[in-house]
Assembly symmetry: C2
Homo-oligomer: 501 residues x 2
């Protein structure tokens, strides 16, 4: 490595260290911190972020980036170094285009908005939140303007979470997906053989739930020597280095799926981060490449594996043993049907695989309309209710169960929701490729053999970290662009059987 590249990597390393320090402080706040620590913690995190941002947009860093760019120009365009410079350039461009005053005002607004949203949701009153949301939408629109010209004003929102992704692409994919998914849900509701999931709503020992989840994810490949699991009210995965990737989980003593599928989901995220090549550590490539690709890994383990028959054949007997009183006499088939029950509902986070994307498409439609100015904030509740009727045949009883249910907008996260669906779609695309490369994958899972699967994911996805943009990675691995058909094939096959369609 040349001297300039070396110096550049050292600067990147320092910026990365600050980012990770802030991440440790965040983890600690969610998992350990006594409540009294919050105000001081906010200041500590603000200082770390401000210093890191200052270092990134400094002349010194800009010059080092330029020098590194010249040095990698002669290298293989797919080399780690070239890609690292390219990805850092992206972060740099975003950082320098967004003025400090905007960052300060956005931070201040979203801090207040979170509290405001919390109270408005408790009162189930959208009008109490409307003014603040208007402010946020305006700020986000300003944000888009910093990146003009753009194809669509929503593009910069989306690009922040899903580098390189365009609004038009998401729109095209969703337009293919929506009618099929609406029709499937309609079929299930209208003529499916009913599924009863009462067996999942019983009292289940928290400790046994915890232990079972830990045993399973350790077996499928989450390495506890390089990680740990803690309890948190809002579960998340966080990486400080591929050798220190932590998951958190919530346990519901009255509903079995919450903890277990939550743990599987977070372990999917965590194996991605544990699999990043350590040579990429302390660079902009030292993490998963996008929210969408990340979600493909979590959903793959939570749903495509966790809610599958082969997986139940492997682990259901053990689960029955742990909870013999509750499910000792429940057949594997009945349990399989119960954990895959489809039921249109108001609440996104409780949605099943068949309805989940509809919740996302609704939010995508509304977000793009808000940012474009086609929808006024004041008209949002009506638009929401109309969409949910159209997509799910439901009428929300109130704002708390409708337009106010999610925290994201209060935090200014526009452009985030679509990545949940992109993850679902990519998971199925990857899975079809896995089935092609490992025709006996179901048999392996039944035998609790996950080594080949993990090796495949490591080789094709994990080790690259953020080296390839999400669409490029998908194309390299599957040979295809983003495509909703594999997901629809998966849903149709699965639910045709369960609901005898």
């Amino acid at each position: 490595m040349g001297e300039k590249l070396k110096q550049f990597r050292e600067l990147c390393g320092e910026i990365h260290d600050l980012k990770i320090a802030a991440a440790v402080l965040h983890w600690d706040q969610q998992v350990n911190m006594p409540p009294g620590g919050a105000p001081a913690r906010a200041q500590q995190v603000a200082t770390l972020n401000q210093l890191g941002h200052g270092m990134l947009i400094s002349e010194k860093f800009g010059a080092a980036l330029e020098a590194a760019g010249e040095e990698v120009a002669s290298l293989d365009p797919d080399s780690d170094d070239t890609r690292m410079v390219k990805r850092t350039l992206r972060d740099y461009k975003i950082a320098v285009k967004v003025p400090n005053e905007w960052v300060r005002e956005f931070g201040l607004t979203t801090t207040l908005a979170f509290q405001n949203w919390h109270e408005a949701r408790a009162a189930s009153s959208f009008k109490d939140f409307a003014e603040m949301l208007e402010k946020i939408v305006n700020l986000r629109r300003q944000y888009s303007e910093f990146f003009a010209p753009y194809d669509h004003v929503y593009d910069p929102q989306l690009d922040f979470f899903e580098p390189g992704m365009k609004t038009a692409e998401v729109k095209a994919v969703f337009e293919k997906l929506r009618p099929q998914q609406v029709a499937l849900v309609h079929d299930i509701v209208e003529r499916g053989k009913p599924v009863d999931d009462a067996i999942l709503h019983q009292k289940f020992s928290e400790k046994k739930q915890w232990d079972f989840g830990e045993e399973v994810v350790a077996k499928i490949g989450y390495d506890f020597e390089r990680g740990r699991q803690d309890k948190a009210a809002h579960p998340f995965t966080i990486s400080f280095h591929p050798h220190d990737v932590r998951i958190t989980t919530r346990v519901n003593p009255q509903f079995l799926p919450t903890a277990f599928f939550g743990t599987m989901h977070e372990a999917g995220h965590a194996m991605y981060e544990q699999g990043v090549d350590v040579s990429l550590a302390r660079t902009a490539l030292a993490e998963g490449t996008s929210y969408g690709v990340h979600e493909s890994q979590s959903r793959l383990f939570e749903n495509l594996i966790g809610r599958s028959k082969p997986f139940l054949k492997a682990y259901y007997p053990k689960l029955q043993k742990a909870f013999s009183k509750q499910i000792g006499s429940v057949s594997l088939d009945d349990f399989y049907r119960a954990i895959n029950k489809v039921e249109p509902s108001y609440i996104r986070v409780e949605a099943d695989e068949a309805t989940y994307n509809l919740h996302i498409m609704l939010r995508f439609d509304l977000e793009t309309a808000l940012i474009k100015g086609d929808l006024a904030v004041v008209d949002l509740p009506d638009a929401w209710n109309q969409k949910i009727e159209e997509y799910l045949g439901l009428e929300p009883p109130d704002d708390a169960n409708g337009v106010l249910q999610d925290v994201h907008w209060s935090g200014g996260y526009l452009g985030y929701f679509p990545t949940y669906s992109l993850g679902n779609l990519m998971a199925s695309q990857l899975w079809e490729k896995i089935e092609e490369d490992m025709p006996d994958i179901d048999a392996q899972i039944e035998k609790k053999k996950f080594g080949d699967l993990l090796a495949w994911l490591r080789e094709n996805v994990h080790r690259h970290g953020a080296k390839f943009y999400p669409q490029e990675l998908l194309k390299r691995v599957t040979g295809s662009e983003l495509d909703p058909e594999p997901y629809m094939r998966y849903l149709r096959r699965k639910y045709s059987e369960i609901y005898a369609l």
Copy 2:
């Protein structure tokens, strides 16, 4: 507050935030971090320290400090702001006098030395560690030279941990203390009525030990709403803000005193930090004023209270109930004697109150001689063995149980050991003042009433944080200089009764 002072405080706040972020990373490493995380963590901490140091010695900070100094010149010299500027000036002077190259080499050397010491101790071979220790002593001597002129070359070592303290003062105090303490131990060993502590060496449930300790320290005043307790191999207390002060404890399932007195000790440290006035947060005054004063608080709760009869009258019945099989039939008097058994031993961390200071004085003698050049590193083991024979009448079986037992020197911590003894002495000085101000303190403790005591400590010690230098604080509270007589009075009274001298 004037504008310049305000700007200065903001800069101090940012430096403080970095220091606290590093502290959170340290706590996490000791308590939670999976082993794989260590190398990345070292880099993160190094980056935070380097940035904080860079900010402290920057021209910008120097100018702000000077401007703030001019502004406080017109204020009451005892105002918080004046003292804050003064204390920050001290930190600044230390930081600017020590060259970056020295800091780097010292950091590198001690990192290697820790590993080296660890192996040398395992092999019980001082000669394997001698070369590295020589390097460390030379570096520490260089450190002293940065602060020339000095009265004694050891002064800058000591001053780092105990601001304002001089080698000559410690020497004078130790010279009064040593003969008395040697004589007392001699008396106990030669003609004391033997004490049997076999009852403490039984199997004690770890959970019950933990719960008992938590209940007691919550009652004496450690606020779990602004703190938490976790397990750690090497217990410590750490403060991120007066509202987030955490303790750690080690539990020995075969020896009852370890966990309980450890928890009392750490809670003593922690109540000091929880008691610092929040208006001092994010400044150089936002922590205890010195290692010695800190140790006075921990020893006060661990020993003067925890190992006292009034305290046992309050809590022994509850302890007996928790461990009825082990100590249900042991009288309070026998238990009191057992936890106060005196036995000269090789190992400092296992030493009782009567012998502890002798271990420290030995180390102080050797450290000053090493730094002054009166003792060569190669001659250290002989000097050690000679001293321990002289002070405790013992001959260490090997280096591991002698000169190699402590980690401190491998970390470059010369000047640290004396603060343990200073803490013991100050605890007794404070206690005599407490008895004067609260003549019924024993009766209060017997009734589990700790509110007045905590209020006294808050008012006189805790709330000031680092506002006053240790000797100044001691003088303000007790009216006296550092004085070994209260400690000797305490020891004589206590052990004359226990050992029927």
